[in-house]
């Protein structure tokens, strides 16, 4: 047994050195599904670690990640970084399928989430208190939603931890309104159009639908490894785009 052990250890160390370290992508959990799907089929081996946009950007700056997955637009506070738009994600506003409301104005939506409007009858729907469902305070979806509508102090009836849970909660409560990534919405809830604009590939790409956020892959400028470049090229290629749209995401024009 001992005679075998030494060569075995040496062999393990050698193979570990010889193989290229897989590309490491850290960041937004909203992007997890899409990134994992890409990583599964990409010729470039990639390791996806989720934990939030903020965590990903920090890991990138400290050199612990090759790419950061960022589910919001970069701000000047993020520093000097290079971003590639992987896809566009629409945030859908959803209600129970029995709710007769079809469309809501952005200003009214803000008032609902800030607790200024509390009854459905104000919105022309059947009377009943509005159950305002939101996400927990550091969620990327929530940040993007509140930034787009100018919500400062939200007044939630429930705060839930995942888009899928928001969907289940809204589907179970006829008086609820909630928001989640359009990719996660299904027939158990109904999407509202915002100011008369519904979620379609065209309205998302043109910016007519107001609740859109980019999914970015961020890198340090001038320090993009060949592996990262291969992964970005694969994601932007025909196969990558097909995988992303299968995940329910919207794609920017190929030139972008």
């Amino acid at each position: 047994m001992r005679r075998l052990a030494v060569p075995l250890v040496v062999l393990c160390v050698l193979t570990a050195c010889g193989r290229e370290r897989p590309l490491s992508i850290v960041g937004s959990s909203c992007m997890g599904e899409a990134l994992r799907a890409l990583a599964r089929s990409s010729p470039q081996e990639a390791e996806v670690q989720l934990g939030g946009t903020q965590l990903g950007l920090a890991a990138l700056k400290e050199g612990r990640a090759d790419l950061a997955a960022c589910s919001r637009a970069l701000t000047p506070a993020d520093g000097d970084l290079e971003a590639a738009v992987l896809a566009l994600d629409a945030i859908a506003v959803v209600v129970h399928p029995d709710n007769p409301l079809k469309s809501i104005e952005p200003e009214v939506l803000r008032a609902v989430y800030e607790g200024e409007i509390t009854d459905w009858s104000t919105l022309g729907s059947a009377a009943g208190a509005i159950v305002v469902v939101g996400r927990e305070s550091a969620s990327g979806t929530r940040m993007a939603f509140e930034a787009a509508l100018g919500i400062v102090s939200p007044h939630h009836g429930q705060e839930l931890g995942e888009d899928g849970i928001v969907r289940t909660a809204v589907a179970a409560c006829p008086r609820a309104i909630g928001y989640l990534s359009a990719a996660k919405a299904d027939a158990s809830v109904r999407m509202l159009s915002i100011g008369g604009v519904s979620v379609t590939a065209e309205s998302v790409k043109s910016g007519a639908y107001p609740l859109v956020r980019p999914f970015l892959l961020v890198s340090r400028p001038g320090a993009v490894s060949p592996a990262a470049r291969r992964f970005l090229a694969y994601a932007a290629g025909a196969q990558g785009r097909e995988i992303l749209s299968d995940c329910g995401l919207f794609l920017p024009e190929a030139a972008a």
């Binding site: 989720l50 965590l55 159950v131 927990e136 305070s137 550091a138 849970i165 909660a169 179970a172």
Partner: protein, 280 residues
């Protein structure tokens, strides 16, 4: 040969006992070390303020502590008598196939993943509460303390019932026969003879259930609404364990330290609870 074997076994037992202790103390020590940065900065505000806003650097757990304690206590207070009566009824008053069935059903239920209980709560209990108390649940749509208590009680029931059932099994038949021989009716035997002798195990199992209820996060997260607020039956609130699960994914720096401090508080709470009653 047998002496050598003896010695070997003894050494192995000591070693594993030491390993268990070391693991426990390492865990507690590590938790304490991770929580220290926050406790040093604002230990008083951490325990006594109800203002939890990680983005603003406010880490007060008072509201969540009350909510955790309230939900856990009410759930145990609800589930313990129900489980006790069920165990007594099935073990003492039902014909043969029932006790075996009861036992295996309880064991199967006890292994149910907690997220399933949460989903049942979310799709059945929360809407039901909304229908029963339409005026009280205007804002939360039924999610809140009552839903959390009911779901927790549902999760505690099988383990409690199984515990009481085992305790009843361990009471020798002589006790029952002696009681009957003195002319006690079956209900008298159950309530005046068997129930008092279960006192120790009631304390033990209720304590365990309380510990489990305090630490339960997944199921509670789905039904209690999670807005940080002073606890009440019908509006959303958040528990300590739920906060750790909800925020650990992206917490960094002081926020992360605050979550570890919550872990420390939960550890202290559960270890301060009486672990077992003295046998008389």
């Amino acid at each position: 040969m047998s002496r050598l074997w003896d010695r070997l076994l003894r050494a192995a037992m000591r070693l594993s006992a030491a390993a268990v202790f070391a693991a426990l103390f390492l865990l507690a020590g590590w938790l304490f070390a991770a929580a220290l940065p926050l406790l040093r900065a604002q230990a008083g505000a951490f325990l006594f303020s109800a203002d939890w806003r990680p983005i603003a650097g406010r880490f007060g757990i008072a509201a969540m502590l009350l909510s955790s304690a309230g939900c856990a206590l009410c759930a145990v207070a609800l589930a313990t008598p129900a489980a006790l009566l069920a165990a007594l009824a099935v073990r003492e008053c039902c014909p043969p196939p029932a006790p075996t069935l009861f036992r295996s059903l309880n064991r199967a239920m006890a292994g149910l993943p907690s997220v399933l209980c949460g989903l049942v709560g979310m799709t059945c209990i929360v809407p039901a509460i909304d229908r029963w108390f339409p005026r009280r649940t205007a804002q939360s749509g039924g999610a809140g303390g009552l839903a959390a208590i009911l779901v927790l009680a549902l999760m505690l029931l099988p383990t409690l019932a199984d515990g009481f059932f085992s305790a009843l099994e361990s009471i020798p038949d002589e006790t029952r026969n002696a009681s009957r021989a003195l002319g006690a009716a079956r209900t008298q035997t159950v309530f005046c003879c068997l129930l008092p002798s279960l006192r120790a195990s009631i304390g033990l199992h209720a304590g365990n259930a309380l510990r489990r209820a305090l630490g339960e996060a997944t199921a509670v997260l789905l039904v209690c609404g999670n807005v940080v607020r002073m606890p009440s039956l019908f509006s959303a609130q958040r528990t300590l364990a739920g906060t750790v699960v909800l925020e650990m994914g992206y917490a960094a720096g002081e926020h992360r330290s605050a979550l570890f401090a919550i872990g420390l508080v939960l550890l202290l709470l559960t270890s301060l609870l009486p672990s077992s009653q003295r046998k008389r």
